[in-house]
Symmetry: C2
Subunit: 313 residues, 2 copies
């Protein structure tokens, strides 16, 4: 049996990334009901909001689902308490030290997965005792690693450095992308951008349409002095570029970024001055679909790609 | 029959990238004799040197081989004259406008391939009448595109935008990497870094050993203000970084880069002050091998990866 399916007790090794402003209970439960693993993105939720989303998700599906928790968030202790209290079974941690919470969560029987962007952090996460690792490449949307290692090169290098199940993320939106990642040594895949453009995503409709219209070259990794983030080249990005011409300090960059700019872009639909986090593979995404159809298509395309393989050479 | 094999009349759809300072007649003929397509890298050769390499390659193999020509090089007219005069059958062009020479070369019966790093340039190259396109991702060593699109995302997007044969480059050094690229829609692959670390490469032994010892995260894309180039993070790169702290002009960057720095690093083995161009996949390369064994291993690994595929889901 596939190691990712066995670990999470799911039908397909397809995980929906727990993204800020995009991944509430509607999306997570829809993906889980379709046989994948849905994740609630706690990173953009106040504790009470997260509580509501977990409760709704538990009502909406009897299948496994999880919560993604960026470890650097300010109210992290409260978030972890809610997760334990509400009996969440699967936690994906990111953006922080996996040693901080892995032990505590695993003691309570929770399956813990950590997201990394380099071989060194993959090894540290495995040493911290996680059950699986998501290795995410440079092409991924949103927050990203400093090494800029791409999924195609990262997956085989992480694969030979760890022994726990490996989930590939960054640049995957189709069944053939999924098969390619698994050929490289991944046990499963995590998709973000593809699920932003789903009916159940909590992204603003205008942002979803922007993702669908995106072309190759429309995203960029920027704000490397703060925390590298991949986003669309809209007016906010042009403002950033103009500031960069003046050799800005971190404080000046932080000031331009301000607060709530990601919410403004992705959740409120301000395509001009908002921050629109999305991956390079948005250039390949052409429609907004129900999450269940996205999962079904991934499976169909994956099986078709297996059938249409070139022969031995 | 595989479209790349048919186009070049070769046994395996494996192309050795025509790299500056690494790809002379020894490497090109060894790869061609092993059933792949070897390329002489004209970019680092004076016209007379290129003439010698073509002649030696013609003596060393009766199999097809080609020459890679960066179109922006100063003595380009002389290079093209030599190619026509010496009856070279295959030309890969890069770094310039494919309309300039494609027609003239094809009139003489030469197979012309152009290297691109974006969908827009792939479409322009096809319109210019090339026989095949190499699409090269952000992870590739040496000169690189401004869009920073990775191979995993670039290949499917280029694949649906053109109809001529498509060769994937950037981040490939193994048979499973090759299969992954072909799952994504490529007809064949071009490998650079893997062939730098070959016995027949004209790279300095110290540079080859440096490639073998490279780890994930050891390369970086820099000099974006001049022409983006991926290289190893050695002292020369640290000097660049120090200069970047001072918000340098293009002229200051050009002055630090100077002339012949790539030759100094890759050909003369100055690992400290030389420019060491190499791809991210160097982190996966662990040995210096004869080119024929590299080709044979790629084929063996590719066929093994086909056999070990996960089943339908």
């Amino acid at each position: 049996m596939n190691r990712v399916c066995a670990l999470f007790q799911i039908k397909y090794p397809i995980i929906q990334g727990g993204m800020v402003w995009n991944s509430g209970w509607r999306l997570a439960s829809a993906v889980s009901n379709a046989g994948g693993l849905g994740l609630i993105g706690a990173g953009s939720m106040y504790p009470d909001v997260l509580r509501t989303h977990i409760a709704r998700c538990q009502e909406a599906t009897d299948q496994p689902f999880g919560v993604n928790v960026p470890l650097l968030y300010p109210n992290i202790e409260e978030i972890m308490d809610i997760i334990l209290e509400m009996n969440v079974k699967i936690v994906f941690t990111s953006a922080g030290n996996p040693r901080l919470y892995t032990g505590r969560l695993k003691e309570k029987g929770i399956t813990v997965v950590h997201v990394v962007s380099s071989v060194a952090f993959a090894q540290k996460a495995e040493q911290a005792g996680v059950d699986a690792i998501v290795a995410e490449g440079f092409e991924a949307g949103g927050h990203n690693g400093r090494e800029e290692t791409t999924t195609l090169t990262l997956i085989p290098m992480v694969n030979r450095s760890i022994s726990c199940p490996l989930i590939a993320a960054g640049g995957i939106a189709t069944g053939s992308g999924m098969l390619a990642a698994m050929v490289l040594g991944a046990d499963g895949v995590q998709l973000g951008s593809r699920f932003v453009a789903s009916l159940e995503s909590s992204a603003h409709q205008l942002f979803k349409e922007k993702v669908v219209s995106a072309k190759e070259g429309d995203t960029v990794l920027t704000l490397k002095e703060l925390a590298p983030v991949r986003l669309m080249k809209n007016k906010f990005y042009q403002d950033l570029e103009a500031l960069y011409q003046q050799n800005p300090s971190k404080e000046e960059l932080q000031q331009l970024l301000g607060r709530a700019r990601a919410k403004r872009g992705m959740f409120e639909g301000d395509l001009i001055d908002g921050e629109l986090e999305i991956g390079q593979i948005s250039g390949l995404i052409d429609n907004i679909r129900p999450a269940a159809e996205i999962v079904a298509d991934l499976v169909k395309e994956y099986n078709m790609a297996l059938e249409e393989l070139p022969g031995v050479i």
